[in-house]
Amino acid sequence: MIEINNLQKSFLQRSGRKQVIKSISCTAYDGEVYGLLGPNGAGKTTTLRTIATLLRPDSGFVHVDGHDVVTEGRIVRDSIGFLTGEMRLAGHLSCREMLKFFGRLNHMKPSEIEERTRTLTHDFAMEAFIDRPIAKLSSGMTQKVALAVSIVHAPHNIIFDEPTSSLDVLAVKVVSDFIRAAKNSGKCVVLSTHVLGEAQRLCDRIGIIHDGQLLCEGKVDELLSMHNVPDLETLFFSLVPTDRGSL
């Protein structure tokens, strides 16, 4: 379970301090997919990076399975699998070697790593390129390997930021199936995406963020009926102000 309470975060810039997250409170429970939706610059990635211990909250707290991300960073990192669209694997090691490396870093036994590699290779359909160097893979293949690496230690909480951004249609299905399977096995999945159709298909509950604030949160079907809109896209545009003049 991931619990975010009154999270506030600002960054120091040349022009002064910029409040990126004004106040966000939400909870993602075990056995559900929680979708964080919002336009670019809304604060989604900052929120996810805070959960992943890469950033510290200015105020408020973030707990992962009851552990504080600031004071218990290593325990939190042990229980999360985190991947953003900006994170890329690189180098000349093969996918198998990369999985072995991250498995060892997570103190997994060689037999566990081997078993996990087999499972992930099958789950993400990586059989054709598992022994190929990362440097020689397409961006879609690399993204699949990065996904596999982020969850090699079978974390209880999975945090994906735009996980399908560079994947083709077939690969998107592979990832979607994996997310559903993770949810069904009782894991807590937090997903950030700008593909609203994908969010509607995958997420049990969503939170829409704009300008560092949570505009609404709840189960997808409940939100749709509450706002009397047919789909997530209509709901999104009814809540998030669009500034056509700036285009």
Binding site: R77, E86, M87, G91, H92, L105, H153
Partner: protein, 383 residues
């Protein structure tokens, strides 16, 4: 520390799979040194042989003494010619008579290497001719030049056997080359594994794992240090190779260098100080690389330090090892002086100990700095 070893092993494995980096880090220094020395030696050898075999056009004015012509003939091959066609003009003053004081003017073109050689040979010829004239004058008074020269000199070299067998020459060049390649080796690897990984987005994947940031820092520093020491090792091998190859390289080195050798303990000290200075350069480059957002930015941070290393290498090249203890607390400087001591056979144990301790201590401080940077939000924002 086991996590640091895992990261180190992964980095090394990745490194050895990258042929281009492997070439520039190991093969290039291994072959560039012999190619450099053999090439330069061969060119110099060729130039000297060419200068010696050339027949020079010489014009001699104001003295047609056959003995003078014989003196010149002993020094270089020449043909007499007119002033207009001459490479070198030797002018004696008008009315010159053998045995009187006279100003001899040698006119030559110094922009030509061959003419410079001929000029030197003519000066020697004039010196011999002058001695010949002096001998003749003394004979008229029943004396000989040898009887006037009452003092002879002989020298006893008390330098160590190692220093005499080319150690001094090695102490001048080897530390400089080793440090330059050690530092350049650590720059490539250090920037690639820090800001290079940031740029590619692969550092964040490492930072969100449960491994401690200190382990990440040490793993990367160890890797950079090993690459640097291997780069320096390849340079040293290249140097040895250029000594062994029977070619133009021998022309560049003093003859006594062929007898140069390092004892086991000397080699051990060299490896120890180089390993610790590699740890130092690795940690400094990793620290600067971690501060940068991109390899380009990292390069601008590291380059001034590289220039300082080059400057230290050049300024200490002709310096003798110092007994001033302060220098042995300063990384790079201490390593150069200890290597000089080793190569000249004048090892001072406490200099070695201070150097090793100082290098490790400062590397430790830098490693702590890298770990702090990996914990710093300002840096984490950029991964």
């Amino acid at each position: 520390m086991s996590d640091a070893i895992i990261i180190f092993q992964k980095e090394v494995k990745n490194f050895f799979k990258d042929r281009r980096t492997l070439f520039s880090t190991f093969l290039l220094p291994l072959f560039i040194i012999p190619i450099l020395f053999i090439g330069m030696g061969s060119v110099l050898q060729f130039l000297e042989a060419d200068a010696q075999s050339t027949t020079y056009a010489i014009a001699i004015e104001g003295n047609n003494d056959q003995r003078f012509l014989d003196c010149i003939d002993e020094q270089l091959s020449y043909r007499l010619t007119s002033r207009d066609e001459a490479d070198i003009i030797i002018t004696f003053p008008p009315g010159y008579v053998q045995g009187i004081h006279a100003q001899v003017v040698i006119t030559y073109d110094s922009s030509s290497q061959k003419n410079q050689y001929a000029h030197q040979q003519v000066i020697i010829a004039i010196q011999i001719y002058q001695e010949l004239l002096a001998e003749n004058l003394l004979e008229l008074h029943g004396l000989s030049l040898a009887s006037l020269l009452t003092l002879t000199t002989s020298s006893v070299d008390v330098a160590s056997e190692v220093a005499q067998s080319g150690g001094t020459f090695l102490a001048m060049l080897v530390p400089y080359f080793l440090l330059i390649f050690l530092f350049s080796g650590s720059i490539n690897a250090g920037l690639d594994t820090t800001c290079g990984e940031k740029e590619r987005g692969s550092l964040a994947i490492l930072l969100v794992n449960q491994v401690s940031r200190t382990s990440i820092a040490w793993g990367k520093i160890l890797y950079v240090s090993v690459v640097a020491i291997c780069s320096a090792g390849a340079t040293f091998l290249g140097f040895v190779l250029s000594l062994l190859v029977p070619s133009g390289a021998a022309f560049m080195f003093p003859a006594e260098l062929s007898g140069a050798s390092l004892s086991g303990i000397s080699l051990l000290i060299m490896v120890a100080v180089l390993s610790t200075v590699a740890l130092f350069t690795g940690s400094v480059v990793a620290l600067l690389g971690s501060l940068a957002k991109s390899v380009k930015e990292g390069g601008t941070y590291v380059m001034p330090l590289y220039m300082i290393v080059v400057l230290i290498g050049v300024t200490t090249m002709y310096m003798d090892p110092t007994s001033n203890g302060v220098f042995y607390f300063i990384p790079i400087v201490n390593t150069i002086f200890v290597m000089k001591e080793v190569l000249m056979g004048m090892i001072t144990p406490w200099h070695v100990v201070v150097t090793i301790c100082a290098n490790i201590a400062i590397a430790g401080v830098c490693a702590y700095g890298v770990a702090q940077l990996f914990n710093s939000e300002k840096i984490l924002q950029t991964v």
